[in-house]
Symmetry: C2
Subunit: 335 residues, 2 copies
């Protein structure tokens, strides 16, 4: 299985982490994806994983020359959709950084290219594989809290000093689609329904000279069956805090409440309150390759990828325009 | 200082708890406040506190006969505003169950009666005195997290089997004003600004035959200076859980994050993460009497009481009507 990797701005580490489990995968080419980006760390990572690969200046030339089976996209945000579409047009499966599009028009184009391709698509929603989140989801899926009625999710990140491409909407999709996408994905995943409406707010104040980057945001969704969901996002986590992120997700159901919080999975139900042991022995890129080979299943489907991207972009639109956005107003493209 | 107490449907326990600290207060009369409500527990509570008091069938007769200095209102929700207004008209200070009004018209009438009276008004926002909440607020007030940018609050209650008056909007203000009022109060208190807009949702689904009682709700506020705030409310806390309520409040600031969660006050700032010792030696009704006597200060002012009631009612309106509500659209009455 021939793999090409484009770009060094995202979570290509998911792929490098998966390679030791995937002797079938040959890295046949890597490319920086943007003029000026340094491809060295990516090339070195492949070599360290025992898959040294030729470096290409132009990613399209690489795709045409190598004819890969799978393309990993982690290039500039503003070229993600274009790169995915180019890969689909050449008959490759696509494993991409999220969000997979910066605009709804791009998303529609990508959805159409995906639908025509007959190939697999998954976004790097790696936090579904985080053991605490995965354990909580499995419990909800198994009926531990009955029917889901309410979900609260949180993403709190350290801001640090971020590269220039984070400072502009031209090269950064906004904090809701970038940081919030994980939380928005958890909501739909845990609820098992579709988004119906969103209202969101965001603010760039006190972003420490990061241009247009929003330092805080809130989203409020409704999903099928009057399920309510909230997302809280901020870049104010102090540098001195123990971890980069403070991620939380809480699902309230008719028979119980489950919460991933502070490194624990806590369940309250008819038997009282207790902690669940967190575990996940799956790996996101291994799952993706397994799905391609037909023997396995990736936790993130193409429908998930497109629906969550749409939700991120509509939430951003709601916050930009100060109005409630209804999902049904938009046709769903190929999702 | 002569005190009259009306009603047995609210947190009159705050008054009983304060009496041992207040030898100056004489309970001069109690009344059930609603036909059919049993005044016995209230009368017994006063007696147990060494302040046995005569029982009156009609609260107005009691006010006219006793001419109290202070009136405590904890009667039916739908008569709260009326009772407060009757007390103000007779020149008494008022300590009332929240929300102090069921409608915006009632709130305006109450605000006008309060303004004319020159007396004190405070709602039973007793959770400001909860040691963890109070400690977190003091830290925020002292600058521990810099400028507040984002607040997330949660109220999760056991539903149990609730009396009939909880089942109808005629006799129950709704879950946002009843359960959510504490969280909405914390937000304004921690942020130190005024509400500007609200968008809210609620659902009655799976309320276990509790009529119109909403089982879940979400509110999203903006406050002065683009401060964002969310409230999550539900009645799905399992009966087997250790405590009746699972209350949380988290304030994110430019210099740190503070969170009241799981019986702890957790601060993350430039020095890392640590727990603060929770303490509060103040008592809400003692504070209220202290404010009347001129030597002390009640944490809850009349302005707080009226502003938070307005916020609760506008949030309910937003959820009922499915639209964003702007506070400036309404004149503030006497608030």
């Amino acid at each position: 299985m021939k793999l090409c990797m484009i770009g060094v701005r995202g979570h290509y580490g998911y792929v490098l982490d998966g390679l030791p489990r995937l002797p079938v995968v040959q890295v046949a080419g890597v490319s920086a994806g943007a003029d000026g980006d340094d491809v060295t760390p990516l090339a070195a990572g492949c070599k360290a994983a025992g898959r040294a690969a030729p470096v290409f200046d132009d990613y399209r030339e690489m795709l045409d020359s190598v004819r890969p089976d799978v393309v990993v996209v982690a290039g500039p945000f503003e070229r993600t959709a274009e790169m995915c579409i180019e890969a689909f047009r050449r008959g490759a499966h696509v494993f991409s950084e999220k969000p997979v599009a910066m605009t709804l028009d791009e998303l529609d184009e990508l959805a159409a290219a995906y639908a025509r391709s007959g190939k697999h698509l998954a976004a790097m929603m790696g936090l579904r594989y985080e053991p605490h989140v995965y354990t909580a989801w499995r419990a909800v899926l198994g009926g531990a809290i009955g029917e889901v009625r309410l979900i609260d999710a949180r993403k709190s990140y350290k801001l640090g000093r971020r590269e220039a491409f984070y400072h502009s909407r031209r090269t950064y999709p906004g904090t809701i689609p970038w940081v919030g996408s994980h939380a928005i994905d958890w909501i739909r995943w845990f609820a098992g329904g579709e988004f119906e409406t969103v209202f969101a707010r965001h603010s760039t104040r006190h972003n420490r000279s990061h241009g247009e980057l929003e330092s805080a945001a809130l989203c409020q969704f409704t999903l099928t069956g009057e399920v309510l969901a909230s997302v809280s996002i901020d870049y104010f986590r102090p540098d001195a805090a123990g971890t980069h992120g403070d991620d939380r997700v809480r699902a309230v159901g008719t028979e119980g409440v489950i919460e991933v919080s502070g490194g624990k999975v806590l369940l309250a139900d008819g038997d009282g309150e207790r902690e669940l042991a967190a575990e996940c022995d799956r790996q996101i890129f291994q799952d993706f390759v397994g799905a391609i080979e037909g023997g396995g299943e990736c936790l993130i489907s193409a429908a998930d990828t497109l629906a969550v991207t749409e939700a991120c972009l509509l939430a951003r639109q709601s916050a930009d325009e100060g109005r409630i956005v209804t999902f049904a107003q938009r046709s769903r493209g190929g999702a």
